[in-house]
Amino acid sequence: MTSMRKTLCLAVASTALGLGAALPAAASGALTVVSWGGAYTKSQVMAYHKPWVKKTGIKINSVDYNGGMAEVKAQVESGNVTWDVVDVEASDAVRGCDEGLFEEIDASTLPPAPDGTPASKDFLPGTIYPCAIPEIVWSTVVAYDKTKFTGKKPSKIGDFFDIKQFPGKRGLRKKPKVNLEWALMADGVPTDKVYEVLGTDAGVDRAFKKLDQIKSDIVWWEAGAQPPQLLADGEVAMTSAYNGRLFNAQVNEHKPFVIIWDGQVWDLDLWAIPKGAPNLQAALEFVRYSTDTVRNYDQSNYISYGPVRKSAAALVKPKMRPYMPTNPKNFKNALKNDFEFWADHQDELTDRFTTWLSR
């Protein structure tokens, strides 16, 4: 062969190889499971992914995201779905189901508890949705570095908004969820009336006015792994965070962080399957497998999120119990995130929040 033909053959062969390698994972049958990254995804890998791969031999391709329906919506609407299973917050589960973005999952196919209780009775009441199956109870809490406050220590949610007594920057999630509720609670609204007030225009104005008080001292975070990092860097004095990530920093990384459980806003995380997912059967099996009693309990060994199944919650090891958001000691002034409220009002409040942020 002449050198020109050799070069041509080489070019064609490498292009073919490249195209072949670029074929999506879906073609080979691997399951794409999307979750929030960091310590949380690690706990799922240990408790769900590894046993699943061992049992079925189907590989799992783990992807990270920061929540919200935007990516799922874009995939479903463009007809090009690459995600098989997505870990969603409760308000996104409600929303996704409303907008036809998720496949329906028949709850009667979920495995029963070891003692025979059917799944519908074993899961916490009202947590199974037509398009999403819950896994854990998690909570957004305030945390601080105890070495930074030598005198009086912050102990309630109002202290987060008190820059005078507890100076230093604050960390908050770059979404209106929880921030608006906390602003109202710090402004004196009783916990059981928060969503009632937030449902009115005057209530929303009141929440933003309270946030205005500390606006210049806020550092905004988007990924769950950021707030413990901000605390460790000394970038903030107090920050909101997902409680499991703080557990990871306190216990696994031995950081001197303290969690303020007062005013915790608890929420659910659920598995949902985008409509048109490439590996629907495997996705359904994975959801059923990972929400059975043993798997559900096992995750609590790696991160401090409460299992949603009563049979699994009963198995939680004693050393993990103090860190659980549902522990009665931590649950004294807890607010349940109103998923329906956020499913309905998320768009306009996010719009108002983004504008307020950028002005």
Partner: protein
């Protein structure tokens, strides 16, 4: 061009008109052949470049959700004038009720609700709740006629008795609309459809004072360009006047950042500028400050890191122009009695201006479109327009607004380019 004319005249002299005609057709054939060689590339560019851009700009004008899902409602609302009667005719109530039910069953009502919510906050919950309640009503018995539908809808939610919600549906119901482009400048429409500024606390892009998004983008880009000129000019001068071996070595140092990822360079600035970072530690160690200064997540951090990242784009054009300036001009000026500064300012500097122009244009246009650097090192008040384009594309999924913002940015850049062409001439641009 002039050569072919000469050839033609020569042909006429040598062989008469037939030769001239044959030469002209031969030249035409050559031109067509040359064009055909370029056609595949033009088609490729058309499909992969011009096509998508045109489609994106077009998306800023399209608003098909309501015309596709509520066609009969919009038809019923066509003759209604919000300024004269507070509520539309009964047939509109019936059309809306029926179409909301159909959309709810097809799982499409959520999208319609979201679209209406962009125009009037609160409509998402109104529409989705109404859809659910009408479905429950359908299980019992649907209203029989228009008037019954009116009563039913008002019972489902009394907000359907307010003009503003119907006016919003009417307003959003045009398939082709200027609304997204208007929104990009903080303009909206009132009840009658006339153009007004949006509510004060929603103004962000243009009518929010000096820190409005468009003004902010133009100003920060200008600042970054100015700093790049100030810092880049001396470096380029050094590179152009040093002996070749040293200047090649220094050139490698200028080009090295291109081999590093943009994200790595940006996050390196976070490490340097953060409150417990290198610069603050140094300043405290030297005793120059006693409280840590906020150098990042604010305007300072954005300008510093953008200048750093865009500096090579300024240095290289200026360097390439300076390389072509013969040193004999300055020497001649000096020998004629000019002092060093005068020689530089009046002889050397004017010759290097095309380089500054080229570098400045490049840096300015790049800075206008910057997204990742301000997103990482800037505060919420320092985000440039591309952040909002990304936010509307990936978070709020308001693709119409994202397309409008992108289209305006593109047109703005093309105008700047055209102005530069007029003033300086693109053909005079030297990039090396």
């Amino acid at each position: 061009m002039s050569t072919s004319l000469d050839t033609l005249q020569a042909a006429q002299v040598i062989g008469g008109d037939s030769l001239k005609a044959r030469l002209a057709s031969a030249e035409r054939r050559n031109k067509i052949r040359a064009f055909l060689l370029v056609v595949p590339l033009l088609l490729f560019l058309g499909v992969t470049f011009f096509g998508p851009i045109a489609s994106m700009i077009g998306r800023g004008f399209e608003d098909p959700l309501l015309p596709d899902n509520l066609p009969l409602t919009l038809e019923a609302l066509a003759d209604w004038d919000p300024s004269t009667s507070p509520l539309p005719p009964d047939k509109a109530f019936r059309a809306l009720g029926e179409e909301m039910l159909i959309a709810h069953k097809a799982h499409l009502l959520g999208r319609v609700a979201t679209r209406l919510n962009y125009a009037k906050g609160g409509m998402r919950s109104l529409v989705t709740k109404s859809g659910r309640k009408i479905k429950r009503l359908a299980k019992a018995k649907l209203p029989a006629d228009d008037k019954a539908w009116r009563t039913a809808l008002l019972k489902v939610d009394k907000r359907w008795g307010k003009t503003i919600y119907w006016a919003t549906i009417k307003n959003v119901g045009h398939r082709y609309t200027l609304n997204f482009y208007l929104r990009s400048f903080d303009l909206g429409r009132d009840l009658t459809g006339a153009i007004t500024k949006v509510v004060e606390n929603q103004r962000l892009y243009f009518f929010n004072g000096a820190n409005s998004v468009w003004q902010r983008t133009i100003w920060i880009s200008f600042l970054v360009t100015a700093f790049c000129v100030l810092l880049g000019y001396p470096v380029a001068y050094l590179l152009a006047t040093l002996p070749l071996r040293t200047s090649n070595l220094l050139m490698i140092l200028v080009l090295l950042p291109f081999w590093t990822s943009l994200l790595v360079r940006t996050t390196a600035w976070i490490v340097v500028l953060q409150s417990e970072g290198v610069l603050n530690n140094l300043l405290i160690f030297l005793g120059l400050i006693d409280h840590r200064v906020q150098l990042i997540f604010n305007r300072f951090g954005v300008v510093v890191s953008m200048t750093h990242i865009l500096l090579p784009f300024m240095i290289l054009p200026i360097y390439s122009v300076m390389k072509n300036i013969s040193p004999s001009y300055v020497r001649a000026a000096r020998s004629l009695g000019a002092n060093p500064f005068s020689a530089f300012w009046r002889v050397y500097f004017p010759q290097s201006v095309p380089g500054i122009g080229a570098g400045g244009l490049l840096v300015y246009i790049l800075a206008l479109g910057y997204y990742i650097t301000p997103a990482l090192v800037g505060g919420p008040k320092d985000q440039l327009v591309s952040y909002f384009i990304a936010d509307h594309t990936t978070h709020t999924l308001n693709w119409g607004l994202a397309a409008a913002l992108g289209g305006i940015l593109l047109v703005g850049v093309l105008i700047i380019y055209a102005v530069y062409d007029r003033l300086v001439g693109i053909d005079n641009m030297k990039l090396g």
